[in-house]
Every structure is written in structure tokens, then in C-alpha cells.
Subunit: 228 residues, 2 copies
Amino acid sequence: LSRRIWKMPVGQIPELRRARGRPQVRSDDDTRRLILDAAAKEFQANGYAATCMVDVGQQAGVSTKTMYRLIPTKADLFKSVVSDRIQRFVLALDAEALESVSLREGLERMLTAYGELTLEPETIAMTRLVLGESDRFPELAASFYELAIVRTTEAMVAWLKRHVRMEAFPVDDLTEAVGMLRGMMIMEPQRAAMLGRQRNLSAGEIASRARTCASIFVAGLTGVGDKG
Amino acid sequence: LSRRIWKMPVGQIPELRRARGRPQVRSDDDTRRLILDAAAKEFQANGYAATCMVDVGQQAGVSTKTMYRLIPTKADLFKSVVSDRIQRFVLALDAEALESVSLREGLERMLTAYGELTLEPETIAMTRLVLGESDRFPELAASFYELAIVRTTEAMVAWLKRHVRMEAFPVDDLTEAVGMLRGMMIMEPQRAAMLGRQRNLSAGEIASRARTCASIFVAGLTGVGDKG
């Protein structure tokens, strides 16, 4: 879970290598991969409005025709970039085969993974782009909300339900609780990084913050429960 | 504290009324007020780059000469708009004369005020503008970070130290704790509102969320302290 699976190498086979041997047929999946990596860079460098599909294709070394066949519009391209990143996070959560853990340990692991995803420079740049352009491009905002925020929240809730002993939840609204925890974990460091006021947290700092948040929250739920 | 002091009426005396009686001399403070209100609207409508000082002056009914005398640059204008809003929040906190309250009650009051400030549409629009433009205009990001984030955090920490019984802090790093609480309180609702995916929370919903966050956090600190 805490390995950075969403940053796994993406098989950018240089075009040069293909020139030598017999021509390889690239699968559509590999081609999509090249397009999405190029698109992520172009969006970050130029923003949404100024990013041009043809340029993305050129940067990816993919013909315009293939590009449009695989991804018909710029809105689709953006959605694919976001959902690709989120998908790796969700898959990493799903793939985890764990013995049942305590609520505190479960939250700590989950917050560590969430912190690593959301405090990474590329995610920060993407989040900033969406927030900045959400007025002009409401469809960006809608996709980002559904794909990034709702989807990760659901994955986190499902993961907790699967791995944490059920009697351990002293809370009715697990979705709200997860939302509070996410904010506790990342709002201040993510905002400071977005505003260029703080270097990124190290893996150790993320893990330590996750531990603090999980400990306070679990002791807090238990304490509140005791009094209620 | 929970009254919306930062939204108090701002004495926008219509120019028409002045045309009748004898000419009134407007104080520089009143003129600044007119400029800042007009500037807030222009920044929201056009973003930072496209906002023009001369237009702001015209909207405010203030001569360009006076405008530049009071506020020399667009960067100063933006800083003034942000710091004006924050200042009202800080003043509201400072003005509060309270008997010493429990940690839980103190955090609840403080989070309610913070939620009212940060979940208001104008604050959300301003935050979104800064995050979106922070790449192109790092000086905006720097001002916003210092004036809005650092300043409110300091005010909240100072307020807690003044009003909450000192023996009640089972925490070393009060600044970090306040940062976690802020995130717990506003990140998800503010982001949903920024992305246009959720109506604004009502005053009652803000108060209720503040109560939940304060209760969990305080019980959590106590529980964590008990175990340590």
C-alpha cells in the first residue's frame, strides 16, 4: 500500500529502439499510456485552455489520427489523466491482502497511502489546475470531483469496511468521518505546497502525520462514543 | 464571534446623494473601502491577470489619481482585499471577551467562526483564484499564504491560549493541531463548493460540523494523552 504504485514505470519505449529490429505493433493500451503521460505534462505546463490535442499527440509520438481514435476530445483526455492516477491508487488499495487490522492501524495505513498520492507534486499540480479552471470549465470540475474525490472516498470507505474489524466503528457516517480525516491529514500541507510555501513532505513525515491523525481520531471516536 | 462581522455593511454612500447638499469630504479610509469592495468584485469576475486598476477605480467611483495614491500597484490591491477580509476575522476573534472556556467549547467556537469565514462564497472564490493563479503570480500566493493562512492560524492559536484553561492542552504543537483541525473542519466542504458540486453549508450545518470536529479532537487528544 505504501509503495508508490501509482508512480510505477510506464514503459515509455523510445521510438529509436523500434527503428532497429522488426517493427513492433504497439497495443492501444501502450499507446494510451504514452498519450496520458504526455498529456499530464502538457496540462501542467500550459493549463487546460492552452493545451492542444495535436501537441499532445506529437509529444507522445502518436499520430493525430490514432490520438483522436483513442481519445476523442480534450475533456476526455483530461478525464483519462485524472482517472488514470486515481485508478492506480484504488487498485493499490484493492490489491492489498491484509489480515484484519485494528481501526487505528487501518486508518494509519489508509492515510499514509492517501497522503502519498495527494501530496505528490504531480497530484498537487493537477488539483491546482482544476481548482483554478473550475469556473471557466465546469466539466473539468465535475470530472475531477467524481473521479478523484468521490471515487477515492468510496474506495477508502470500502477498504475500511473490508479490513477493519466491523465492531470497531463507533461512527454512523463513515463517509463523513473519512472526509474529516482526509482534511486533517492533507489540507494544510497540500495548500502550503500548492502556494509554493513549503517543500513537499518526505515519506517519513507523511507516515508520522498519518499516525498522529489516526491516533487522535480513533481515541476521539472512542471517547465521544463513551460519553454518548 | 459567530456573528458575521467580516460581512458588516461597508458604508457605500452613493455618489448621487453627495450631489445635493454641500460637498462632503470622504476620508481616505472610506475611499479605500469603496476601492476594496470594487476590487473584490473585479478580481472575482475577471481573475487576477485581467483585472485592471483603472476599471477598479471607475467601478468604485474614485479617480485614477486617488486610486494610485492610496494603492500603488495591483499586487498591493490584491493584498489589501485579502488582508481586509482576514482582518475582520482576526478582529472578531480579538474582540471577544469571554470567560475562560473548556478546550472543547473553545475549539467549537473557533471552528464555527473559521467555517463561517472560509465557507462563505466570497472567500471560496478568492481562495480558488489564488490557487489557480499561484503558478503565474507567485507573489499572490506568497501574500495569500502569509495574510490568510499564517495570520489566521496565529490568531487561532493566540485565541486558544487566551481563552482556554491552560492545563487543558494535552498537545505540544498547538499550531500543528490547529492546522489539523482546520482541515478536518473545512477541506471537504470547501473543495466541493469550489468545484461547484455542493451548495454552501448553512450556519446550522457549520455549527454542527464544528461541534463534531471539536468533540472528536478533544476526546482524541485526551485519549492519546492517557495512553502516552
